[in-house]
């Protein structure tokens, strides 16, 4: 019982786990992995990365893997929590520095992360988001400990400004010896490969998904006497709010029955309010402010056309959600957006006011002439495109592949760092990697792996959580005890 659900025969020689692997290594399914998702961003914080980690974990649990999530403490939510289906979340007490990302020294998180990796018998570390310092820290420590690493990049970056240059350098260092990288679209893959100077063969593309049952059309909620355009995005420069402020007055003058509903909050909200004020459009442009994710659907179903004005986007979830609700999508042709939906469901424009207006006029014309398919039909097409089960299946293949690869031993890792990351950075990080290794040796001397508790599996092949189901007869006496709870 001491060793649960290890990677099986494909297991590489892992120095971290060898002292405690007893002979009772059962012939568990070779494909079952012990996965640890690491990111600074997780619930209760809301956003794309957070829901991605949650949904992916749930689907992987469903497929019989053991999954845990490691993030930093959010306010009073610290320690260890269990979510649906026994998804275990560690909220570690690390200091938050900026924008929910933790401060990094590359070393201070090693003791705790090592303790968790050992006690949970983790075989694959899956880090998310390049903005998360904790994700990079975990990758660094995992490589020192000889564990397999996977990284998912959720965003696109530029190459020109100082912050991008620095982040790109950091990403090069972090990813040069990572086993596999996952991007959400082909554009994002190109971007990441260029930024981090990677071999494209170790980069996979697995798109995001939406839960189609959350985004169903409801044609009765919209008024067919008017045309409603929905915009749901954060009101920031990157999302093209400035373009939106140019489009609204132009089209409102042309079409007296055109209404806008804008959901979202941000620093650029003031521009939209000015436009509304100047052109006296209070009755036709509604600003809803910040929306919770569960309310998005109720806003979407009120409209006929969805407008996306993003200037950069790795994979636009918003347009998939809108199309799933049966709206005609008009969007800018930037980043990964052209890959997301087929030509028939989307009108692509250049990111300029003129081009977007033309696109919207085309959509309005199609709508009036009744050329658009019914919302229910659009929903039925879109719901087959992006499902979390499919994402989990494809991610599982990445894990299977990674599990068979060998982790670079220390000397090769140092060579890789020095040869890949430039003379100065390379040597600095090689030195840090050596220090990290020495720190790990010290920690192993203070607390040997063999005396670290093995955590009780909630999920996975031997997960206790699944034993709650009535089909497990061997737990009858337990369920008898449970009655008194």
């Amino acid at each position: 019982m001491a060793c649960r659900g290890r990677g099986g025969p494909g297991q590489p020689p892992s120095a971290a786990l060898s002292p405690v692997s007893p002979g009772s290594l059962s012939a568990s399914r070779t494909s079952a992995h012990n996965i640890c998702m690491v990111s600074d961003f997780f619930y209760p914080n809301m956003g794309g990365v957070e829901s991605h980690i949650y949904q992916l974990s749930q689907c992987l649990i469903e497929r019989g893997h053991k999954v845990i999530v490691v993030t930093h403490a959010y306010g009073t939510r610290k320690g260890i929590r269990y979510l649906t289906n026994g998804l275990k979340v560690y909220y570690l007490p690390l200091k938050v520095m900026y924008n929910q990302s933790t401060a990094t020294t590359l070393f201070h998180s090693l003791p705790l992360l090592r303790y968790i990796f050992v006690r949970e018998r983790v075989t694959i570390i899956h880090s998310h988001s390049s903005f998360s310092a904790m994700a990079h820290d975990a990758l660094f420590h995992a490589k020192t400990m000889g564990l397999q690493t996977v990284f998912t990049d959720h965003s696109l970056f530029g190459f020109a400004d100082v912050s991008s240059v620095l982040t790109n350098k950091l990403l090069t260092v972090s990813l040069c010896d990572t086993n596999h990288i996952i991007c959400v679209s082909f554009t994002s893959k190109e971007n990441t490969v260029l930024r981090a100077a990677l071999n494209p063969e170790i980069v996979s593309v697995i798109p995001n998904a939406v839960d189609p049952t959350d985004f169903t059309p409801d044609p009765f909620r919209r008024h067919d006497s008017i045309i409603t355009v929905i915009v749901v995005s954060r009101l920031v420069y990157r999302k093209g709010t400035d373009l939106l402020s140019g489009i609204i007055p132009e089209l409102c003058q042309k079409y007296p029955d055109l209404h806008f509903i804008i959901g979202g909050e941000g620093p650029k909200r003031i521009i939209l309010e000015e436009v509304r004020e100047r052109y006296q459009l209070h009755d036709r442009v509604r600003l809803l402010g910040a929306l919770e994710h569960k309310d998005v659907r109720n806003v979407l179903v009120q409209g006929h056309i969805f407008l996306n004005t993003s200037l950069t986007e790795a994979f636009c979830m918003a347009i998939v959600e809108a199309a799933s609700c049966g709206l005609q999508v008009v969007s800018t042709r930037v980043g990964g957006i052209p890959e997301v939906l087929p030509e028939s469901l989307i009108i692509l424009c250049e990111p300029s006011v003129k081009s977007l207006c033309e696109g919207l006029e085309k959509a309005i014309f199609q709508l009036r002439s009744g050329m658009l398919p019914a919302p229910e039909d659009i929903h039925n097409i879109v719901k087959t495109f992006y499902t979390w089960r499919n994402v989990a299946e494809r991610t599982e293949k990445v894990y299977d592949r990674v599990a068979e690869e060998a982790v670079l031993p220390m000397d090769q890792r140092l060579d890789r760092l020095i040869s890949h990351c430039g003379p100065v950075t390379g040597y600095i990080f090689a030195l840090l990697a050596v220090f990290n290794f020495l720190f790990l040796v010290l920690l192993r001397w203070i607390i040997p792996d063999s005396i670290i508790d093995v955590a009780v599996d909630a999920t996975g092949p031997r997960g206790t959580w699944t034993h709650q189901h009535p089909h497990s007869e061997d737990k009858v006496e337990d369920s008898g005890k449970c009655k008194t709870r």
Binding site: M1, I80, K481
Partner: protein, 195 residues
């Protein structure tokens, strides 16, 4: 009836667990750890005195040496009297309550009694403690105002220098036998008698 098992605590030290069954409704669990070893005592004393001697050669003030002796003595007494626990006993009597006794190395004993009507549940919980993640056993007390709430969490078995260790083995014996929510039912399971 009595049996004895040995475990290691979270730092790898040895612990002995004795279980005594007096009657179906009365059990005693006794966790004892080895007495203060002469080796660690010598090591600590020597290091303090060596440091003091080093300081003395620097500033040539004999006060340093007497202070070192004083500190060692007071420290040792304080450690034995307030920190070092030799034995912890958990006596459970169904229908009456739970009595926890800790005996310190100096011979001091402290006893706490919790009435069974106040006990809401006994659980094994997981917590992040210093740079570790540990399991610990604790008693949840009922909130007198709100019957569903928990007013206090009382950790049991604080043996050894660590405040919240749980006798550890791979995996902990009690845990392997229980479902993931890790709840004992009140009294019943521990005393082997359903409520």
């Amino acid at each position: 009836m009595e049996d004895e098992q040995s475990f290691s605590d979270i730092c790898g030290g040895r612990l002995a667990l004795q279980r005594r069954y007096y009657s179906p409704s009365c059990r005693e669990f006794c966790l004892s750890c080895p007495r203060l070893s002469l080796r660690s005592l010598t090591a600590v004393t020597c290091s303090v005195w060596l440091a003091a001697y080093g300081l003395f050669t620097l500033c040539e003030n004999s006060m340093v040496l007497s202070a070192a002796i004083f500190i060692t003595l007071v420290g040792l007494l304080g450690y034995l009297h307030f920190v070092k626990i030799d034995q912890e006993t958990l006596l459970i009597i169904d229908s009456l309550g739970i009595q926890m006794t800790s005996s310190y190395a100096s011979g001091k004993e402290s006893t706490t009694f919790i009435e069974m009507s106040k006990v809401k549940d006994i659980v094994i919980n997981e917590a992040i403690y210093m740079q570790k993640v540990i399991y610990y056993l604790c008693i949840l007390l009922k909130d007198p105002v709100e019957p569903q709430g928990v007013s206090q969490v009382v950790p049991v078995f604080q043996v050894s220098t660590e405040p919240l260790p749980f006798p550890q083995c791979n995996p902990p014996p009690v845990l392997s036998a229980f479902p993931p929510r890790l709840f004992f039912s009140r009294g019943g399971n521990l005393c082997g008698q359903s409520m």
